[in-house]
Amino acid sequence: MASRIDVSIEHKHAPPDAGASKKHPNTCPKCNSHYREDELAANLRVCAQCGYHYPVGALERIEQLLDPGSFIEEAADLRSADPLSFFDLRSYKERIAEAELKTGLGDAMLMGQGKIEGNNCQLTVMDFSFMAGSMGSVVGEKFARACERAIERDVPLVSVNASGGARMQEGILSLMQVPKTVCAVENMRDAHIPFISVLTHPTTAGLLASFATLGDVTIAEPGTLMCFTGPRVVQQTVREDLPEDFGRAESNYRFGHLDAIVQRRELKSTLAKLLRLFDHGR
């Protein structure tokens, strides 16, 4: 059993262009253009020079997508427990506390209801900056509740995803969020509730193996890394160079896994169009 192949569902490091750089966060990692914070925010955090899509936090994403003032957050009080009393180099409790401080969020997902160009929907938005957007019990529970609310209210669910995978500090319970959220989607499906999944950089591992790929319509922002196993682990396994856009939205689109790649500036209008279409069939 000496040389086992590692098949973790978690890719091992933050993906290359989401924080690994030592540059100022407002400097474009692709073309080095630099922007003032207000400039960048006004341009939806897209590089005006080269089109690079910077990461967007959950709160800012909600501002970008929802009609002003329409968002009503739900299940905001949910917090992670520490069922395994998990301790590696530091304790899980400490990591959580740090993430809360850094992001101002209770966990890696915001959930609630809102309107997009006047169309009601249930919404989940993930934030990669909270422990790499990892899915533990809180993310799983919020997503499951979002599905239940969508059914109760008879409105579509829009899910904006960004995640490195399962939150391994919750051990097997983090894996259980995968089937739990799949079941939640299946309940929506039986109730004929539309589900639109939006993949943003990066959406990988446990997220791809659960609800993120189960949308009626699945779209991604340009450049989104969306792979089950991360490029580093795949390369380690196959021991050869990977295609340049391996695992990216552009490659996934060619291989038939995406309905569309949508520029961030078109995301709101695209979602509104989809919500209108799904509404007019009912």
């Binding site: 059993m1 086992r4 192949i5 590692d6 098949v7 973790s8 569902i9 978690e10 091992k12 009080d77 949910l78 917090r79 992670s80 427990a81 069922p83 395994l84 590696d88 019990s137 809180v138 799983g140 499951a144 509740r145 239940e148 399962a166 391994m168 919750e170 097997i172 319970l173 983090s174 894996l175 259980m176 995968v178 089937p179 739990k180 799949v182 079941c183 939640a184 989607v185 299946e186 990988t204 446990g206 997220l207 791809l208 193996a209 659960s210 993120a212 790929t213 189960l214 969306m226 792979c227 089950f228 196993t229 682990v233 795949v234 396994t237 196959v238 695992g247 291989f255 038939g256 896994h257």
Partner: protein, 313 residues
């Protein structure tokens, strides 16, 4: 360890009996915990050594694999091949046969035994997306004709290859679970070796999830966890002791419904006995499920997974 586990289970049970979590299927959970309490045997908190023994046994090259159990438990076996699109994935076997007098579908990961050639041929039990698509095809046949579905889980994980990614590994794992969530027939999943993360869960969304005594079930391999969190794959034993992939821990968390005993010294020491014990447990589980109709089975299954997770709020 039963002292500790028993206390936790009783504690959880007491809490659940007071609580009303929305949609959490509390009464099912209560029933399951009562069942677990009856099953727990006595002992102490598992040591690092004991947990690592499970890892070693679960990966033991002589451990019985899916087809070893099929051979011993299923009559009139006919394997069904191919995803009807691109390939027949040898890392997954699926088929129909007669179990305890009734036709069932069996789907499982399959490792190769013996030399490197055989093991590579089965890709070490690591499936490509096409393997999950084959399995979904067989599930659909079973559903339409009313055959219970038995899955045998034994994989280090889904295959981390280039083509696997290009052909939609993540989506296939999700789709396989969705297919299982949809079935109107009784389903029983058994972790018989390595229950490795996404590759395992793709076959484990069942009404009852059983686990052999020395099997493991985890979100990540000990080596993978160690190399991420300790930045040193050599710390695998320590990682395993931290996230505890052994059967007792999984039972403690309510992730599995019961532990299937193995022969003294592990399943690899006596295939026939291991198969007999596995067969008895599956039969018992199917017996319990026999009373439910299709809609109830679906609901039972989804409620089962709805309750997983621990939240502090």
């Amino acid at each position: 360890m039963a002292g500790e586990l028993e206390l936790r289970l009783r504690d959880r049970l007491a809490k659940l009996k007071q609580l009303h979590l929305p949609g959490a299927g509390v009464s099912d959970e209560v029933r399951r915990i009562e069942h677990q309490l009856a099953e727990v045997d006595t002992g102490d908190e598992r040591s690092e050594d004991e947990i690592w023994r499970s890892v070693e046994f679960a990966r033991h090259p002589d451990r019985p694999y899916t087809l070893d159990y099929v051979e011993r438990l299923v009559a009139d076996w006919i394997e069904l091949h191919g995803d009807r699109a691109r390939m027949d994935d040898p890392a997954i076997v699926s088929g129909l046969g007669s179990f305890a007098g009734r036709t069932v579908a069996v789907i499982g990961h399959q490792k190769g035994r013996g030399d490197a050639v055989q093991r590579v041929k089965r890709n070490f039990g690591m499936s490509n997306p096409e393997g999950y698509r084959k399995a979904m095809r067989v599930m659909e046949i079973a559903d339409r004709h009313g055959f219970p579905v038995i899955t045998l889980v034994d994989t280090p994980g889904a295959y981390p290859g280039v083509a696997a990614e290009q052909h939609g590994q993540g989506g296939a794992l999700a789709a396989s679970q969705a297919a299982m969530a949809r079935l109107k027939v009784p389903t029983v999943a058994c972790v018989i070796g390595e229950g490795g993360s996404g590759g395992a869960i793709a076959f484990a969304l069942a009404n009852r999830v059983l686990m052999q005594q020395f099997a493991i079930y985890s979100v990540i391999s000990p080596e993978g966890c160690a190399s991420i969190l300790w930045r040193d794959a050599g710390q695998a034993r320590k990682a395993a002791a931290a996230f505890r992939p052994d059967a007792v821990h999984c039972l403690e968390l309510g992730v599995i419904d019961s532990i299937i005993p193995e022969p003294e010294g592990g399943a690899h020491t006596n295939f026939d006995e291991a198969a007999k014990l596995l067969g008895q447990s599956i039969r018992a589980a199917l017996g319990e499920l026999g009373k439910m109709n299709g809609e109830e089975l679906r609901r039972d299954r989804r409620n089962r997974f709805r309750s997983h997770g621990v939240i502090a709020s």
